[in-house]
């Protein structure tokens, strides 16, 4: 919400409270809907259109959930035959699928851990300190984000080939840390920009060492940004096929397994595991949102302020 303060409307808002909550409340009570023009038809049309767009986004996900209960006749899970729990009872019944999933989780866990640690330090340096070459570093970090994945994978393979490095688990992890770093840096950086430095200065005035200040003040304050960066990194890593395909050697991750399977057979187990990952991610997401809400509500309950209504 840092941006709320810097947008051009500042002059207009002068004298009024500009907190994000106020703006949101204002929008909800007197939004631009139906003012003067009374375009009810246009409104209905727009809502319908948005509904159809959402449907386009959600239908393939629904298809995966539904077809995970299918009992296909052939090798491809394309045509609905009949409802069955068979695939759900034996989700790892396809040879190799369980191992592939395990490898993917290991790669994602390891690369997330390292990328988040390195990326957070880089973001701290970029936002907190003024130093020569900062603009150049900002630009350099942006380039991997603007590079197609296929190029990232191909370049890394060129280097491994030149050094005759055998590709496998380690090279996959190296590649995943590489493509996750920029995402982590950008995510943590955007969180750090609104950071209140006076809190750290207060801690140091009260005699805290730099390390104590970092551990007790800085880290807890930037934690939400670090956690969202880690979640993003994990999701990107476990999803990646393109870059992995250049650097996996004979190691099979879950996406590599699916790619290999897709030409020969698509058993319903693939949809079962996709559904499991989907439901797990959804649950995690809802849990995070719920916890954040609760933390906000607790922070908001102070004697001098009335509790803001939850939107």
């Amino acid at each position: 919400m840092e941006s709320a303060r810097t947008r051009p409307s500042r002059a207009l808002a002068a004298g009024e409270a500009t907190s994000a909550g106020t703006v949101t409340a204002a929008r909800e009570t007197r939004g631009p809907r139906n003012r003067r023009t009374g375009g009810k038809l246009l409104d209905a049309g727009l809502n319908l259109y948005a509904g159809l767009a959402l449907l386009y986004l959600l239908v393939p996900i629904a298809v995966i959930l539904v077809f995970s209960f299918n009992k296909p006749l052939g090798r491809f899970n394309f045509i609905w035959q009949r409802f069955s729990f068979d695939a759900w009872k034996d989700p790892f019944g396809v040879p190799g699928i369980g191992d592939a999933l395990r490898v993917s989780i290991e790669v994602a866990g390891l690369s997330t851990l390292i990328a988040t640690a390195l990326g957070t330090l880089t973001a701290l340096a970029l936002v907190r300190y003024e130093f020569r070459g900062r603009a150049a570093v900002n630009f350099f970090i942006f380039i991997p984000l603007a590079t197609p994945e296929v190029v990232l994978g191909a370049a890394l393979l060129s280097m491994f080939l030149n050094f005759s490095v055998a590709t496998g688990f380690t090279t996959i992890v190296i590649a995943h840390i590489m493509f996750n770093l920029s995402f982590v840096i950008v995510t943590v950086r955007s969180r750090l920009i609104g950071f209140d430095r006076s809190l750290e200065e207060a801690a140091q005035d009260l005699g805290a060492t730099p390390w104590q200040t970092f551990r007790l003040i800085t880290l807890p304050l930037i934690m939400p940004g670090v956690i969202s960066a880690a979640l993003l990194a994990f999701a990107l890593s476990i999803d990646d096929y393109v870059i992995t395909s250049f650097n996996n050697g004979s190691t099979i991750t879950f996406p590599v397994f699916i790619w290999g399977a897709a030409r020969v057979a698509i058993p319903p187990q693939i949809y079962v595991i996709a559904s499991m990952i989907f439901l797990f991610t959804l649950a995690m997401m809802l849990l995070t949102v719920w916890q954040q809400r609760r933390a906000e509500r607790m922070a908001a309950v102070r004697p001098d302020e009335p509790e803001p209504s939850q939107g």
């Binding site: 907190r128 197609p148 996709a274």
Partner: protein, 292 residues
């Protein structure tokens, strides 16, 4: 900034691990790929460095069709994503009310399913004996032998689907931060809906439009998964060529040259857009400069 001046080395120390990793595993590999792209030889006899700049022109003339197709498909997918995404982002930002977070969650739900499986799901939906094709055949839109899979339409539809959230999220972010009082002012000054939209809402959402189009176009142009799973070699894109040259044919110099041409084109697109939008908005570093 006092602490920062006292310990001038600290920022570099903090930068070192992350930046070092990117230099070692992003920048240096690009150097090796450049080296690779200038080699001459054949996959059987091996390749030797030979300042073989002609690899670049050969690669372009040999695969110009796939290049053009990549930009055509990516451009189409970006355009369709915008047409689908803008109204949806608008409705969520201005009409979402208490459902706003739930609607945003629905937008990113596709990301909870592995990319490849999302694409396989379209293969299921569009398959020749599936419900969609048989319905369209019954209605007469598709002929008896008509199919949806393995066509240009299915590939573009898949690309659009896979990158649509990248379009919607930045659009939403820029629409959401528009101060509703500006719109009020527009109506108070007797602006009609269309005037307020064209003169206030749309211009203020331009940063989102620029970010969204880039985030959709760049991965779309390099994509090979949709063309592989939902298309045939007749729909193959430059990503397919790079992948097969590297991993199947072993023709590294051509693949490396193609990669550089693709990367260069993308950076050019980004820089042109940066001119239009201003680099700050693009790099997302607006707040920093002001703080410094």
């Amino acid at each position: 900034m006092r602490a920062g001046l006292k310990k001038a080395g600290l920022p570099y120390l903090l930068l070192f691990p992350g930046l070092g990793w990117l230099l070692l595993f992003f920048a240096l590999p690009l150097g090796f790929m450049l080296f690779e792209s200038l080699k001459a030889g054949t996959p059987d006899s091996g390749f030797l460095f030979d300042w073989s700049v002609s690899n670049y022109s050969d690669a372009v003339s040999q695969f110009d069709e796939q290049f053009m197709r990549s930009f055509e498909f990516a451009g189409l997918a970006t355009l369709i994503s915008f047409v689908i995404g803008y109204p949806l982002a608008y409705v969520i930002a201005f009409r979402g009310g208490r459902w706003r977070n739930a609607l945003l969650l629905a937008v990113i739900v596709p990301f909870f399913v592995t990319y490849l499986i999302r694409t396989l799901s379209w293969e299921t939906i569009l398959s020749d004996d599936g419900a969609v094709v048989s319905t369209l055949q019954t209605v007469g839109i598709l002929g008896e032998e008509g199919r949806l899979l393995d066509t240009t339409a299915s590939v573009v539809l898949g690309i659009t689907y896979n990158f649509l959230p990248f379009m919607i999220l930045p659009l939403y972010a820029s629409l959401e931060r528009i101060d509703p009082r500006l719109l009020e002012a527009g109506y108070d000054l007797y602006g009609r809906r269309r005037d307020v939209f064209m003169r206030v809402t749309l211009p203020l959402s331009m940063p989102g439009v620029v970010a969204g189009t880039l985030l959709t176009f760049i991965p779309a142009a390099g994509d090979f998964i949709n063309a592989e799973l939902l298309g045939t070699p007749r729909q193959s894109m430059i990503g397919n060529v790079i992948q097969s040259r590297y991993l199947e044919v072993g023709d590294y110099p051509t693949a490396a040259a193609l990669s550089f041409i693709l990367m260069g084109t993308m950076l050019a697109v980004v820089l042109v857009w940066a001119r239009v939008a201003g680099t700050e908005a693009l790099l997302g570093t607006e707040g920093e400069e002001r703080r410094a």
